[in-house]
């Protein structure tokens, strides 16, 4: 057993379809804005899905040209979000052997993979960039941050599809609780808006085809939901042992109180219809956090706007919290505004969850016109919701193809 130090969140950074940083993303989430737009690229014309939620600020506007050349778009987003988070945390002074990185992507540097394959076919092997391998590997964003910050306690990249960044945050919590690190740069990223990826998800009928109304296409819990909307960007949290944070007088957003994991062992891509595995992950996260179900005031749902997943998740929340607590919790899916950041979703949504506790205001779910009858908890619709004062906790769920379930619990006050 290592020590069981408390873990706190001391820095936040993001670049999302709603804004190039956390403040702009957060204000857009509270205001109920959509980051989804029609795709204007020529290649989109051949696809059944012609919209996506691209990053609001392109990395080319932020990073120098040579740096851009050597980093895949996933790494570019990770570097940008990490810089904001590190600065937000007050650039903590930490022994490099006590500093770790736990940052993932669901797919890895697939834009580099696909673009360099085009280069190979059109111009031959010598024209393939010598930076291709470090750019395409799924641990590329973690590696880039490990080098940038000189982290020497470990650089990790947990890969579990759309649960990846939640799993990375959970791993970061575990590293600090287990005594392996004092500070962990944790989170995740995705950058996969490319015709092949859209074709692949569209081919499995997982994406919304609401081409005539992109901003209203991501509609978790609505009866008319018809699939997710692909998004890109990154979210990074600075996790720190409470002792380390207090010793340097750091501003503490919330406690990263616990993580729970399970797997469905049921289907590669379909969630368990009753959300049995999801419920076990939530129960485990509450146990690790030593949080009573009744303390969970808000849950940021994974709900991606696919027919199969959203309702099952609300059943899982009810089952895990029990009826009394499930009757009081309020739930939203911020994917209605950001789209689905895939491997970056859990991190961006953890930031939303932490800020909801910190500011006592929970972002809404937009685009619900006709709430699905099967929804088993109260959904915050259209307008943000004030949360009560006093000690509170909040839950963030993430699930991924392959049957991965991760639940994170944050506590405040």
């Amino acid at each position: 057993m290592g020590n069981t130090s408390g873990v706190v969140v001391t820095g936040l950074g993001a670049t999302t379809p709603l804004g190039g940083d956390v403040p702009s993303t957060w204000s857009a989430l509270l205001a109920g804005h959509s980051g989804v737009r029609a795709l204007t690229d020529d290649w989109a014309e051949a696809l059944p899905v012609r919209f996506a939620a691209a990053a609001a600020v392109d990395p080319a506007e932020v990073l120098p040209r040579v740096r851009l050349r050597r980093l895949d778009r996933t790494q570019q987003f990770a570097v940008i979000a990490a810089r904001e988070a590190w600065s937000d945390a007050g650039e903590p002074e930490v022994d490099p052997v006590r500093l770790a990185v736990s940052v993932s992507s669901g797919i890895g540097g697939i834009l580099t993979t696909l673009n360099q394959y085009d280069v190979f076919r059109e111009r031959g092997w010598q024209r393939v960039s010598p930076f291709t391998v470090p750019m395409l590997m799924p641990n590329g964003p973690a590696g880039a941050l490990g080098v940038e910050y000189g982290a020497r306690a470990g650089t990790h990249a947990m890969v579990s599809a759309c649960a990846s960044s939640a799993e990375s945050i959970g791993y970061g919590i575990d590293m600090i609780r287990g005594g392996r690190a004092d500070v962990v740069i944790a989170g995740g990223v995705e950058a996969s808006i490319h015709p092949l990826n859209i074709a692949a998800f569209a081919s499995m009928r997982a994406m919304s085809t609401r081409n005539d109304d992109p901003e209203r296409a991501s509609r978790p819990f609505d009866r008319g939901r018809d699939g997710f909307v692909m998004a890109e960007g990154a979210g990074i949290l600075v996790l720190e042992s409470e002792e380390h944070a207090r010793a340097r007088g750091a501003r503490i957003y919330a406690e990263a109180a616990g993580a729970g994991y399970s797997s469905d062992g049921y289907d590669m891509v379909l969630p368990h219809p009753e959300g049995e595995g999801a419920a076990r992950a939530i129960e485990q996260s509450l146990r690790q956090a030593e949080v009573a179900p009744g303390d969970i005031a808000y849950a940021n749902a994974h709900a991606t706007s696919t027919p199969a997943g959203d309702v099952a998740e609300t059943r899982a929340i009810r089952s895990a919290l029990g009826d009394a607590a499930a009757d009081r919790v309020v739930v939203s899916s911020t994917k209605s505004m950001t789209g689905h950041l895939l491997g970056g979703a859990g991190a961006v949504e953890s930031i939303a969850t932490v800020l909801a506790l910190h500011h006592r205001q929970a972002p809404p779910t937009i685009n619900i016109e006709d709430l699905d009858d099967g929804v088993a908890v109260e959904i915050i619709q259209d307008k943000s919701r004030d949360l009560p004062q006093g000690p509170l906790a909040a839950l963030n769920n993430s699930f991924g193809f392959g049957g991965h379930n991760v639940a994170l619990v944050f506590r405040h006050g």
Binding site: P64, R65, V66, R69, Q126, R127, S129, P130, F131
Partner: protein
């Protein structure tokens, strides 16, 4: 068709600026790529391929490792062009 050494030097400066972000004005004949311009081995590979595209002269790996300075590269390209 041959490029003058001055043209090769200027072209090399533009390539190094584009690939490694070192201002073209710093790419002068006596500079070492590694020691003075802080260019790593992967970037040297990119520079050699870009130079091949621009000047039509291939720089094989076993030659590239011996080309330490900007002058070494300009001379190599000029010599290969002259013999082509």
């Amino acid at each position: 068709m041959a490029y003058t050494e001055q043209q090769i030097l200027e072209g090399l400066g533009e390539i190094v600026d584009e690939i490694a972000g070192v201002p073209a004005a710093e790419v002068t004949p006596d500079k070492s790529f590694v020691d003075d311009l802080d260019i790593d081995s992967l970037s040297m590979v990119e520079i050699a391929v870009a130079a091949q595209d621009r000047f039509g002269v291939e720089i094989p790996d076993d030659q590239l490792k011996d080309l330490k300075t900007v002058n070494d590269v300009t001379n190599y390209i000029a010599k290969q062009e002259a013999s082509a």
